[in-house]
Symmetry: C2
Subunit: 151 residues, 2 copies
Amino acid sequence: MEDYLESISMLAQGGKVVRVTQISKALGVRKPSVTSALKKLSKEELVEHERYGYVKLTDEGQKIAEDVFHRHETLRHFLGEILGVNPKMAVEDACKMEHAVSPITLERLAKFVEFVLNRPRGKPEWLKGFNYYFEHGDLPPEYTAKCLRDK
Amino acid sequence: MEDYLESISMLAQGGKVVRVTQISKALGVRKPSVTSALKKLSKEELVEHERYGYVKLTDEGQKIAEDVFHRHETLRHFLGEILGVNPKMAVEDACKMEHAVSPITLERLAKFVEFVLNRPRGKPEWLKGFNYYFEHGDLPPEYTAKCLRDK
DNA sequence: TCCGTTTGTTAGGATACACTAACAAAATAA
DNA sequence: TTATTTTGTTAGTGTATCCTAACAAACGGA
């Protein structure tokens, strides 16, 4: 259900109206699945939807959608920019993982991503070291040199 | 189903025999759920189990169990030792996430954890900086000092 | 050995999704 | 305005899990 909310929110960007067919395509499910999801979400007061009409999120629904989106983006950034997973797979995995992360963990992950990518400024050296390590299974020359020097 | 395999594998550690009740308790589900899971896993040749008897993993089942366990441990380490999530929650979140991570992403995560915690040796300084940042919402004094100096 | 407890199974049902087929409403084009 | 196409709904199914209640097998002590 979270995916439906997230998708509706995305499709509504810029004040556009949202219809069943769009949601169906966005999520890769058939239209009857959308209809029944909407029925359920209406009952929970997360969307407004009348037969054959447009779909709109309630405030509560919008809040949840934004939360899911935030989880998604945090994971996507972590996977893509820190682990170096390719963009397509980063999105796919983020989609699956976004429903499994607890709020507290997510908050820490968000801070982590922010810390690594922006503090004190820009991507740190060690992350480049990690990329090298991942590609070559060993540390880059300067690390090794430093290690030897330290001995 | 993966959870069943993982659990059976854990319970069998050290050559111990495994029974339905144990699995039931380990996973927090009722015994009929275990019985039917075993029926299914038997059909897929992942476990051996005859009525009222012990439960054993096949080689194939053991392989999958170990893979799940590896995913679990990788995630747990990441959450606990890098993000600093408390141990109990690290386990819980790892349990939920372990079924959502693709193999490629998992491999990168494993390398990342190894890199951060062991290369070139021990926990790096910046990770302590992160912990401080998370607690105080700001960088520790030495970072700030370094920043100013660099200016 | 036989009776109660523990352990495991069967039967039947609930929920959360998804799907197809068939139909109904709305929109569009002739 | 009527015919056609597009869009959305309903009805009925299927699969994956879980559950409870009731029963059956196995185990262990008196």
